[in-house]
């Protein structure tokens, strides 16, 4: 990809990421009562000045539900990304540096978690315990810890023989400082950004997927982009807006987060060289 296209991609995906963040934050403070919102006078209205994206089969404003629907994945997605990156980063730094039984045990545990098929594991968890979306996000974050740990560990091992790391050791800079600041923070941020964005997208995918399927995830009348799309099952062509808007939002948001994470990371890695 040429620099020009990747710049454009970065801007576009960045705009979506920022928009989702802003909407996600706004949604947290907007009051919304799904029962109140029902209006049988205005079922399946097309877009208008009053309802920019029209209304759904129960006369509820689609835009409002789209905004409020971010609540289902926004904080969980951030939390999952943060868990994966923080725990994965620390585990990677530790296993890339330390030796001894504790390291071996941690490496074994990471390998074990890494072998779990993530989606199957989460769906199995749902059938057994039907956990809340935030809990699923925590689990998703944990399931990505080995991935993050591996890339960080490789980086730590690769940098260990660099002159400047040797010089830092000779000067007596502490291992914690060298590992956490010089390597994890300064050298690994692009790949941490990439992973965090990926896990956010993953949580969004899992949440909307479960909510779409209906037995798990967010249940009507609470809004989720997933259960909004699920209306397609009942509408039978009566109106496209109620499910098309959230469907597009899901695809565009996931694609943007993945692209943004990759492009930022690539730019960062180019700058490191």
């Amino acid at each position: 990809m040429t620099a020009k296209w990747s710049d454009l991609g970065l801007r576009l995906s960045g705009a979506v990421v920022v928009a989702v963040m802003v909407v996600g934050l706004v949604a947290l403070v907007i009051p919304y009562d799904p029962a109140d919102a029902v209006s049988y006078d205005s079922l399946l209205n097309p877009p208008s000045a009053a309802h920019w994206l029209g209304t759904d089969g129960q006369g509820r404003d689609v835009l409002m539900r789209l905004v409020k629907g971010t609540e289902a994945f926004f904080l969980p997605g951030l939390m999952g990304g943060l868990i994966a990156v923080v725990l994965g980063g620390l585990a990677g730094a530790y296993t890339g540096y330390a030796s001894g039984p504790l390291r071996s045990a941690l490496v074994g545990l990471l390998q074990l978690v890494d072998t779990l098929p993530r989606l199957v594991f989460i769906i199995l968890l749902c059938t057994i315990r039907n956990p809340s979306i935030p809990l699923i996000a925590v689990v998703a974050g944990l399931l990505f810890v080995p991935t993050v740990a591996t890339v960080v560990r490789r980086k730590v091992e690769a940098l260990a023989s660099e002159d400047y790391i040797l010089a830092h050791i000779a000067h007596g800079f502490t291992p914690a400082r060298i590992l956490l600041h010089h390597i994890l923070w300064l050298q690994c941020w692009p790949l941490l950004v990439r992973q965090a964005a990926f896990v956010f997208g993953y949580v969004l995918f899992v949440e909307t997927g479960l909510s779409y399927l209906g037995d798990y995830g967010v249940q009507e009348p609470d809004p989720s982009w997933g259960n909004m799309v699920a209306q397609v099952k009942d509408l039978a062509g009566a109106g496209a807006w109620p499910w098309l808007a959230p469907a597009v939002a899901i695809v565009v948001t996931i694609a943007s987060f993945l692209a943004f994470g990759n492009l930022v990371a690539r730019k960062g890695e180019e700058a490191l060289r």
């Binding site: 540096y97 330390a98 030796s99 001894g100 390291r103 023989s161 660099e162 002159d163 400047y164 040797l166 010089a167 830092h168 050791i169 000779a170 000067h171 007596g172 800079f173 291992p175 400082r177 010089h182 300064l186 050298q187 490191l272």
Partner: protein, 298 residues
């Protein structure tokens, strides 16, 4: 004479290679006194780097054997770094395996050497650009050194001292240099910055391993001059390692000449400068090649 700051006795370093075990440092002994500059002269591959980096426990490469004594006089009395390290090679009493690739070994070295790194000794390498963190400004790296040397300083005082160090290594516009990254500076400027980072740590011994290699001729002369100026107060000892006899003669009080992992001779720099005393033929050839008076070849 006072007790030496550092004395190395009968240092042997061996590497396991495909052709079997190779002895690359073969019974090296030397010592440095407080405030003294010891020049270590030798062609490439003669074992200079290994002999000196082993002082810091930073021998690179695959598992090998290190034996001998590396005695340091510290505030807490005399320690033998090698004796402090547990014997890894079975059977040998003095044999120590340096296993750079073995994490466990590295962690043992780390535990042993931690109190001495930076405080007792630190090093300046060749490749000044690679010796600085590419992602951190020169100023912030210096800050780390300064605050390790004197933890009582607050942020502003640390930065003031960092800038002062940049001035002492004769960098013009130290404030701008402090805000720069290594890739924004020339090789010579990076080496000055590196010297500042090392000295700001206030080590008692500075190991300078071919610090001018790879720099332009005029810049090399400047760096050598800088070392001379910085060491004038005799507060620190230095091991100055070079393959350039002129640099060594300019800086050193005493000189050892190394070849094939052995010390061929040890002499005062004055004798060497003025062609006094008997010379080892190899040293004589080095003097001759540099158009210096040889005196009497042994």
């Amino acid at each position: 004479m006072t007790a030496p700051l550092l004395s190395i006795e009968d240092l042997i370093i061996e590497f396991d290679t495909q052709q079997g075990r190779r002895r690359v440092v073969d019974g090296v002994s030397f010592s440095v006194a407080q405030g003294e500059v010891l020049g270590i002269l030798g062609e490439s591959g003669s074992g200079k780097t290994l002999s000196t980096l082993s002082i810091l426990g930073l021998v690179p490469g695959r598992p090998g054997v290190v034996s001998g004594h590396i005695r340091a006089h510290t505030d807490g009395g005399e320690v033998d770094f090698l004796a402090e390290l547990p014997s890894v090679v079975s059977g040998g009493t003095a044999e120590r395996a340096y296993q750079k690739d073995d994490r466990r070994w590295q962690r043992i070295v780390q535990r042993t050497m931690k109190p001495y790194w930076g405080q007792f000794a630190t090093a300046v390498f060749q490749n000044p650009k690679q010796s600085l963190d590419p992602l951190m400004t020169i100023g912030r790296q210096l800050d780390e050194s300064v605050s390790l040397a004197d933890p009582s300083l607050d942020r502003a005082a640390v930065r003031a001292r960092s800038v002062d160090w940049l001035r002492r290594v004769q960098l013009h516009d130290p404030v701008r240099v402090a805000a720069s990254y290594a890739h924004e500076l020339s090789g010579g400027m990076c080496q000055r910055a590196m010297i500042a980072v090392a000295l700001a740590r206030e080590p008692r011994l500075l190991i300078a391993d071919e610090p001018t290699t790879g720099l332009d001729t005029t810049v090399r002369a400047e760096i050598v001059g800088l070392f001379k100026a910085l060491l004038r107060d005799r507060r620190r000892a230095m091991l100055y390692i070079s393959h350039d006899i002129r640099e060594v003669l300019f800086l050193a009080d005493r000189v050892i000449v190394m070849r094939h992992g052995k010390v061929l001779e040890e002499t005062s720099a004055d004798d060497l400068r003025h062609g006094r005393g008997r010379r080892h033929p190899y040293t004589a050839s080095l003097l001759e090649a540099a158009d210096l008076p040889v005196g009497e070849a042994a």
